[in-house]
Symmetry: C2
Subunit: 340 residues, 2 copies
DNA sequence: TTGTAGGCGTTATCAA
DNA sequence: TTGATAACGCCTACAA
């Protein structure tokens, strides 16, 4: 029972040499194999249910057909949207995606890149904002560098700090614009659910928003918490123990959703009692009530852009592709309730 | 510039043979390499930044460390929840997950299993309900069978129709219970958004629900559409052109969300004007208003169970692991509005 | 156009 | 315990 049929078997079955069988089966370069022979080989291959061994091909060719993708969490709509973009772009290139999830653990992230290096992935794409942590940054810069020196490409979706090609999202521009728009709607006081203090994406968004809002004469309160739905929930509950805010800006949508739940549980109505805004415009946001004001990010396209970058001609210096978002003012921030 | 350092380099650097270096680096079986030598090798390895070549190991060992996972859509919370369970269970076993998304294309699904076969994945897990399509079923049965005959394992999450180990979800039990519970709350008429007519999961849920509801004396209308949010949206809009239902049951949550949007756009309030129920209890449902009645499924655990099954001792006959769900009655189905 | 043979990086068998 | 050496399945000069 030849459960493991090799190219050799196919060659024998077709009555040709291994080399000819190999050439027939992948029409490598200029197809220099006679048509009838080619057909004979292909017939033998299907007859025997031959399946090429990609690991052997990888060894012989010195390159796999695998793309490594590292995200924080696959159930987070932010990451799954980017991942789906990567997968679409990878499929176009005939690549297979090896996906790994870090649960935001920096050490694990490094390990995973090493693992992907071991797997001889053609390229690895790391998705997610960096932390303000020199040790972690150095460690990532290091593994990515080694991987690149081994002849592969790396792309980061996040802050361009790791000496690699990067797709970077403009957080400050839209955050600033959002602050202006919301102030323009009449809000004077805001509490910013700012996420972790060392989280660069969170910091950029919170900082830009707060600066702009203050500059317009508004007052800004800042509450830190985790970058998750529960983080948003917890932060808003803590704030509510002190006072009722006029407007809440969460640095991402999932936090905003947590905040929405917290506000509702406290008997407050959004937007009647409190305005609420987020960031990212994740999928599924359309189904929450009220429609959340946010910053729309082309997440799927970001995944595609990252993949394109990974397979662009190698450049001497790290490239940075900037992508921006657009403010989406929606029902959750109609403006503050007029003096009641 | 030895950008490609091999075990040979390490052996030379450490002054030992290739074989010894190999043994030192993975303490294979009973570690039979002298401690000082082992350390010398390890030191050389790190000094040279040696990274084992997984493709070469796979060839030599005849087995990779890869788990293939095939889903319909990675951005769908149903699939990403199961996928995250698989990834957690895979990581525990030191495996890497190669993820592929089919966009519900049956041919593509077969191709992907073939691709994973080529990659010599240890096992492949296919997630998603089957269609009533003999050709497609036969094709999948076939590829999976070949893959298994090559010495690997396969697991399907869905209907146990492919001659493979299967984690199957009990749709009829909870759907029946849901019908009873809703009828118990006073609903007499329901429209079932039944999804595609040939979609087995959809059919099981819709069928069991409708049967039970009718048996209790209720009337049931059935509307078919795609299995997606848009499908739910479209179906409910179509129904609304004819009449206003008392209760809507969508065979999955994303369809229910689409329906909710459709109802709301039509100026109807859920649950005031219309009751609404779904199925799956996907992540994020907690953030929609009103809280949706649904059937809770342990999606993450289903992913874990599928992986456990994939790595259980091989059995002569296909195994079937049944998992069930529990009805979660929530605010979207308080009972019909009393005569107004 | 086809065949021969060497090599890809590791593991594993078998002596030493 | 360690060291040669033959696989593993395929690709690819190079030769025929």
């Amino acid at each position: 029972m030849p459960s493991r049929v090799t190219l050799n078997d196919v060659a024998r079955e077709a009555g040709v040499s291994l080399a000819t069988a190999s050439r027939a089966i992948n029409g490598n370069k200029n197809r220099k194999v006679r048509e009838d022979i080619r057909e004979r080989v292909l017939a033998a291959a299907t007859r025997l249910h031959y399946t090429p061994d990609a690991t052997a091909q990888a060894m012989a060719r010195g390159a796999t057909t695998t793309l490594g993708l590292v995200v924080h969490s696959i159930t987070d709509p932010y990451f799954s949207a980017i991942a789906s973009g990567v997968m679409v772009a990878a499929e176009r290139r005939g690549l297979v995606v090896t996906l790994a999830s870090t649960q935001s653990n920096a050490n694990r992230e490094v390990e995973l890149v090493e693992l992907l290096h071991s797997q001889r992935a053609r390229s690895v794409i790391v998705v997610g904002g960096r932390r303000d942590d020199d040790v972690a940054l150095a460690a990532m810069t290091d593994v990515l560098g080694r991987f690149r020196r081994a002849g592969n490409s790396t792309v980061l979706v996040g802050q361009p700090l790791l000496g690699t090609d990067t797709v970077t999202i403009d957080n400050t521009g839209p955050a600033t614009q959002l602050a202006r728009d919301l102030h323009g709607r009449g809000y004077q006081d805001v509490v910013v659910l700012a996420g972790p203090a060392d989280h660069l994406t969170a910091r950029e968004r919170a900082g830009a928003f707060a600066d702009a809002f203050r500059e317009l004469g508004g007052t800004v309160d800042v509450a830190h918490s985790r970058f998750t739905r529960d983080g948003g929930h917890h932060a808003v509950r803590t704030v509510l123990r002190r006072y009722r805010p006029e407007l809440v800006f969460a640095v991402n949508d999932v936090m905003a959703l947590g905040a929405l739940a917290g506000l509702t549980e406290a008997g407050l109505s959004v937007p009647h009692d409190v305005g609420l805004a987020g960031f990212d415009d994740i999928d599924g946001l359309q189904d929450v009530t009220p429609h959340l004001t946010t910053v729309h990010l082309p997440l799927h396209d970001i995944g595609i852009a990252a993949t394109d970058l990974a397979f662009a001609a190698p450049a001497p210096d790290p490239r940075v592709v900037r992508v921006s978002g657009t403010v989406a003012l929606r029902a959750s921030t109609p403006g503050p309730r007029r003096a009641v």
